[in-house]
């Protein structure tokens, strides 16, 4: 292989993934010296000249003017005149999936790439150029390719590639002397929608030295203390005079051991708790960050009311009777009632980013939907203009698609108000964290029969507890109370929602 030089599409800058062949300055068969101009390459930003990395004869030019070539793909092969044709073919076959595919186009489409012999003439090869395709630009095939043991790679990169089932032929090399590096593997995985977890092995206290420490220099007090505390002197610093382990060193080692494993006793080996550590998923990370920020930034206060919903349940019954399949839920009615209340008390229908208040005209109500890996809040837009049936259908559609993960961003971003309902789990009341930058969130408990007092008489009614968490920076107690009062009015007298 000595003396054969492959010229590949260079990477001029972070974003460059491919370049267009603007002009060839040489032809196949030309003799050239190191540093001679080979071709001009045009990227989305610049036109620049690729020069010869070594002298020799131009044996192959791969790619026609105007062709887009991915970074790292072979553009030309330079070799001494005495290098055999089949040796060059072998390098092309081994270097990338591009050359063999080109040969397939030459011959029958069914032929195995490796089994195909070299093209007979230059003209045939050139004719084949325009139809070739680039396997390595299709990210789904990281594992595909010939034996990659000959590809130059750092030991870590090779190991990780093996673990991740990456064929090194599919990776663009950027390291010293053209080696494939760990960063190259990560880039290839990323281009393929995967990522590399760097899982550092946890520090392992069970590996702390159990060896004989009788030869360690220590003060008599330190040695006695170490025996009492079950500390091995080999685990202690020796900061005492003349490098002896001092009493302080033993105490420090004991407190280190205690901090890392508080229940360790000398007699029994530490039983490791069966805990599996997992990195946060992207969704969890977002939830964590946003709720943390909300709880930190927005001063929450809660206002609670009990609502009698017998009338509302009767309305629901009436609505559901003729519509066999379209089941309106209590939650759908709550969305409608909240929309009416937001219109009636617009001070709650706001977003606040810390600087400016966005006053919403319509009620865009986010409904919390629990997922396996977290939760998402799809939004019923303009709920004040929609009927209960429309709202019901929309909520069902959004929730279904939320669980399938097919919501579009605009379907769960924004909104001025959220409803979180845990009633179906039998929770009778709770309070929720505001979905910032929204101004408030309504937490809905279960509808259940409770004793109530009417005109001095004990009675039974179906009751529901609503808790409104509000951002006190923009919503005051009286405003929140007015809103809840309006909401209770709509829920207890459903006909008023029609007004």
């Amino acid at each position: 292989m000595s003396g054969i030089n492959k010229v590949t599409m260079p990477k001029w800058g972070m974003e460059m993934v491919e370049g267009e062949i603007a002009e060839w300055h040489v032809s196949e068969g030309d003799s050239i010296a190191e540093g001679d101009d080979l071709l001009d390459v045009e990227t989305s930003k610049i036109v620049n000249t690729v020069t010869a990395p070594a002298g020799g004869v131009v044996r192959r030019l791969l790619g026609a003017v105007g062709e887009m070539v991915p970074v790292g793909e072979i553009l030309a092969v330079i070799a001494p005149a005495d290098v055999a044709e089949d040796e060059i073919e072998r390098i092309l076959a081994g270097a990338a999936s591009r050359a063999p595919q080109q040969k397939v186009a030459d011959e029958s489409a069914a032929a195995e790439p490796q089994a195909v012999s070299a093209p007979d003439s230059d003209s045939e090869r050139k004719a084949a150029n325009p139809v070739k395709s680039f396997a390595s630009s299709q990210p789904a095939e990281l594992a595909a390719g010939a034996d990659d043991s000959g590809v130059s790679a750092t030991p870590v990169a090779r190991r990780v590639a093996r673990e991740q089932c990456v064929n090194l032929h599919q990776v663009v090399a950027s390291g010293r002397h053209g080696r494939v590096t760990l960063a190259d593997i990560e880039a290839a995985l990323e281009a393929n929608g995967r990522s590399l977890e760097k899982s550092y092995s946890a520090a392992r206290p069970e590996l702390r030295s159990q060896r004989d420490d009788s030869a360690v220099f220590a003060t008599p007090v330190a040695r006695r203390l170490a025996l009492e505390l079950g500390v091995n002197l080999l685990d202690c610093r020796n900061s005492g005079r003349h490098g002896r382990v001092s009493k302080a060193d033993v105490e420090a080692a004991a407190s280190r051991a205690l901090a890392s494993n508080p229940v360790v006793s000398r007699a029994e080996a530490p039983a490791l708790p069966s805990v599996e550590s997992q990195p946060l998923s992207g969704m969890r990370r977002t939830i964590a960050a946003r709720l943390q920020a909300s709880k930190r930034e927005a001063p929450h206060f809660r206002v609670q009311v009990d609502v009698e919903v017998d009338a509302l349940l009767a309305v629901r019954e009436q609505l559901n009777r003729p519509h066999g399949e379209a089941k309106v839920s209590l939650n759908d009615l709550l969305v409608k009632a909240s929309a009416c209340a937001l219109v009636a008390v617009p001070g709650v229908n706001v977003q606040f980013d810390g600087d400016t208040v966005q006053q919403y005209a319509d009620a865009d109500i986010a409904v919390a939907v629990a997922l396996d890996e977290g939760l998402i809040t799809p939004i019923v837009r303009g709920a004040n203009h929609k009927g209960v049936l429309a709202i019901s259908n929309e909520v069902r559609d959004l929730a279904t698609r939320a669980r399938l993960g097919t919501l579009r961003p605009e379907e769960f971003q924004g909104g001025s108000f959220s409803i979180s309902n845990l009633g179906m789990y039998g929770v009778d009341r709770f309070d929720a964290i505001i979905n910032s930058p929204q101004g408030a969130i309504l937490a809905v408990g279960a509808a259940e029969q409770r004793p109530v007092v009417r005109q001095g008489e004990l009675a039974v009614a179906t009751m529901l507890t609503l808790t409104l968490s509000s951002d006190h920076r923009i919503i005051d107690g009286a405003l929140a109370a007015r809103f809840l009062s309006a909401l209770r009015g709509f829920l207890e007298t459903p006909a008023t929602m029609l007004a």
Binding site: R159, L182, R204, L207, L234, A259
Partner: protein, 337 residues
């Protein structure tokens, strides 16, 4: 494949290169004749017998005995290199660096840059470093950090006979000054070495052991000790990766950083003193470029900041030992924030 010692590899490689390229010459004290031997040919073959027999084949025109003046013959070698020869200059003990340091750091290292890139200086200075031969403070130092610090010099520290051959061939054929440093305790170490020629590029580390819990970077004679520690700890379930950068300049930062990114822990072992050393340099590189990956403080294992003792007992304490390395590895593995 024949088993060869580092001494044999140096002999054979210098011989083969002198046969291949008539521009290759060898100069140094006692490389042709021998002190106290009335000038007779081939009494010594150099202070360590690397070149025994070569004067018979190549004659005194190409195997050149020099006066005991390192400043003179290292300077002469630099001039010869600039004017077209490819000298190999034998500097015996690298402790003599001080005598010829001007020729090295202020002359040969600068030629290419000060003459507008028009001047090559294809020169190899072959020398020995390290303690353990009971040679005393003036013949036991590891001064590779001093030359690693100078741009324009390449510094090679092979650990075994196989690497010695591939790196020495690269060094002789390189067009820049190369400082080629062997450890005094190692040149009788043997391993399988192919007869055919192979070049090992500068700046590419080898990984004598691969592991996942902690990375040891070790140089020269320390590699063997690091490997022994890795094998010992493997039985306890601690998986140690051992990296031998093989050249301190250029340094394979990439390989070291990658490994630390996977293990999160690093111990750097070098026989040179720690202040302003290659070990401190690598610790700095890792702290600056792989900080986020670190799960434990970086530990360096080096000789203490003192001249090498002449007492054998003390000298053995002075040289970083397997136990020192093992203790450091255990410390980083057991470390909890």
């Amino acid at each position: 494949m024949p088993n060869k010692t580092i001494r044999e590899v140096i002999h054979d490689t210098v011989r083969d290169e002198m046969r291949r390229d008539p521009n290759v010459i060898l100069m140094g004290e006692d490389v042709a004749g021998g002190a106290g031997c009335s000038g007779e040919d081939d009494a010594f073959g150099g202070a360590f017998g690397f070149y025994k027999g070569l004067v018979g084949e190549f004659g005194r025109g190409r195997i050149i005995d020099t006066p005991i003046s390192e400043a003179a013959y290292i300077g002469a070698a630099a001039g010869a290199a600039m004017t077209g020869l490819r000298p190999i200059a034998d500097l015996q003990f690298f402790d003599f660096l001080g005598v010829c340091f001007d020729q090295i750091y202020n002359q040969m290292a600068k030629f290419r840059y000060m003459f507008g890139g028009k001047s090559d200086t294809p020169l190899v200075i072959l020398s020995l470093v390290g303690a353990g031969l009971r040679c005393g403070a003036q013949h036991s130092q590891s001064l590779h950090p001093q030359v690693t610090a100078i741009p324009g010099l390449k510094v090679v520290m092979p650990e075994n006979a196989y690497d010695t051959k591939g790196l020495l061939l690269t060094a002789i054929r390189d067009d820049d000054p190369v400082i080629f440093l062997l450890h005094k305790l190692q040149f009788e170490n043997a391993c399988e070495v192919p007869d055919e020629e192979y070049l090992i590029p500068f700046g590419e580390a080898s990984f004598p052991r691969e592991g996942t819990d902690v990375t040891i970077v070790a140089f020269s004679a320390m590699v063997q000790k690091a490997v022994a520690v890795a094998d010992r700890l493997r039985e306890e379930g601690i998986s140690v990766e051992v990296i031998d950068p093989r050249t301190t300049s250029p340094l394979d930062e990439e390989a070291i950083l990658e490994s630390v990114e996977m293990t999160g822990r690093i111990v750097i072992v070098d026989e040179a003193w720690e202040r302003c050393s290659v070990a401190a340099d690598i610790a700095s590189i890792v702290a600056r470029k792989a900080f986020a990956a670190l799960q434990a403080p970086i530990i360096t294992v080096t000789a203490p900041h003192t001249p090498a003792p002449f007492s054998p007992v003390l000298e053995d304490l002075y040289i970083p030992s397997e136990d020192d390395i093992e203790r450091a590895v255990r410390e980083v593995v057991a470390y909890r924030r």
